[in-house]
Symmetry: C2
Subunit: 363 residues, 2 copies
Amino acid sequence: MESEGAAGGRSAYPLPVPLGARRMAILAEGCFSPLGAKTAVCLVRYASSEVVAVIDSTLAPSTAERALGFGGAIPVVASLVEALARGPDILVLGTAPRGGRMASSERAAALEAIEAGLHVASGMHEFLADDAAVSAAARRRGVVLWDARRPPDGLGVSSGAGASCPVVMTVGSDCNTGKMTAAMEIHLGLLRAGVRSGFAASGQTGIMIAGTGIPVDRVVADFIGGAAERLVAETAHERDVVILEGQGSILHPGYAGVTHGMIAGAIPSGYVLCHQPTRERVRGYDVPIPPLAELARLYERAAAGIGRIPVVAVALNTFDLGDEAARAAVARASRETGLPAADPVRFGAAPLVEAVLETMRRS
Amino acid sequence: MESEGAAGGRSAYPLPVPLGARRMAILAEGCFSPLGAKTAVCLVRYASSEVVAVIDSTLAPSTAERALGFGGAIPVVASLVEALARGPDILVLGTAPRGGRMASSERAAALEAIEAGLHVASGMHEFLADDAAVSAAARRRGVVLWDARRPPDGLGVSSGAGASCPVVMTVGSDCNTGKMTAAMEIHLGLLRAGVRSGFAASGQTGIMIAGTGIPVDRVVADFIGGAAERLVAETAHERDVVILEGQGSILHPGYAGVTHGMIAGAIPSGYVLCHQPTRERVRGYDVPIPPLAELARLYERAAAGIGRIPVVAVALNTFDLGDEAARAAVARASRETGLPAADPVRFGAAPLVEAVLETMRRS
């Protein structure tokens, strides 16, 4: 990093409620579905004991299990007022819209929650704290606004130094193909195997789960590489391996810069390539997703000139397939790429964990 | 673009002095050399009639011609006080340091200039207007602070729509290899040939010359593609071709994200590859610059999956070679790549202009 940028580390966890003991109400109005409110879905998956209610009046009354196929009895309720009956201490704005702007209904819910004495967490590009009314209300009520997508101060240009331990980065065929989920499943699998793994959260959802990280897609463009380098370096402290959550996709006309910038800054030892087998095009764009083996080659060459980074495994998101079709998709992905493949959520992350262990042995 | 991002266009020219009639004093203390103060050097080259003095006490008294080999009798003076004798109306902070932070001496000079009634222009990542003392002084004295690297409001994610006319983008083996200069020389050559060319400035120096543009390396990382798309779309208005100034390099561990993001957002019809033949490694990094033909292939594949973009010509910066060596370097670059090559500053841009015309015919 630039010497001037020495202060730029991961964001600190800002809430007065300890991580693991939060009582979150999550707003996911109209979009609490597997590919809908990403932040809500991932918090239900990885911080389920901390979720007291999800708000989506189009589904209520229901449960997370019914809406997503997991999450058990977490209630889906129709309003913040109903959620308040569950005793939350935090309202989370649970959507992650393209462009990251807050809807007026979300702003109104934030104000209502603040009046009820709740802290509010948001992953939007637009910050709660920059909204005069929201921030005045929070000050008056003495609650914390957690803008999880606010980059830490003092980031700089990457040094190209690399990390002190192997880094495995999840990359994808598109946004929302399971990069965060695959990274978390691999990380948890490594921890269970006794490996000192560090999870490097690069997006708002991962940061809300882990409590810390750097929202790399929100930093100044010149500092993408520096942010990735710093995130990895800090996560690597006393760890044997870092699992770096990737962002965007090299196929994505809007987000390719973030993806490439992270790769160039982090120089991972290997990738886990994430894909949803039923997706044929980048969502919202006229860009076909090539066959997995070809996509793997594109990623392996993505930083050519800086380093050649192998894809070490494939993680599929088969949530929209039947069991048989899902198994077939995993087998086909493995056959086509010659790599270990898994749907880590559906069938377990063991093949991916093994691929990471092998990468660590080779590094 | 996102519908929410509709407001995000190129920056407006902010000074009350018309473009072309500015009287600029340029601060380049200790670094007024061909590869030193990039903003100063490029303003002397492309807005020479508007430069009344350059401040560099390590060279003064001197002239631009003696310091750079061009720029004629523009005086190089030792201090702002001496520069004031030339009747400037603007002080330009003429350096472009890595990381873009303002030195305390530059801040002091800005304050001194403001007290003398000058407007101040800066291309730093750190904004003049965010400095309480500088901005209070400017208000009090009624002068304008031009933070040329401040992105316009309302940028969003790119739509992938592409531009209404062919776009040729300059790309490089590293930073500061002549991408801005090659773009400007090609643009001026096209204008002279009667082609309605638009110059799309993506960096602070180009913006100071052209008066408008988008500093793509300073936008929110998620919006790099959207910024490039918007810059190109707006520049394309009533133009037959857009010459897009590139940023960074796909070889650069820090800036590769900006380069890739611009390519993915702009989807140019072709590249002009810029290189300084004596440079063997990316400056400040352990990254060798591959042979030009291989580098051209890397660029051609850089957006593979989104589009295959040909390199249509090579622009060399041979400022540090003798005439014979420069001619040999140009001939070698052309031979190795099979493409037209030129040092547009030294030998004229005709081969590059012809390559762009050919690209327009093919598009």
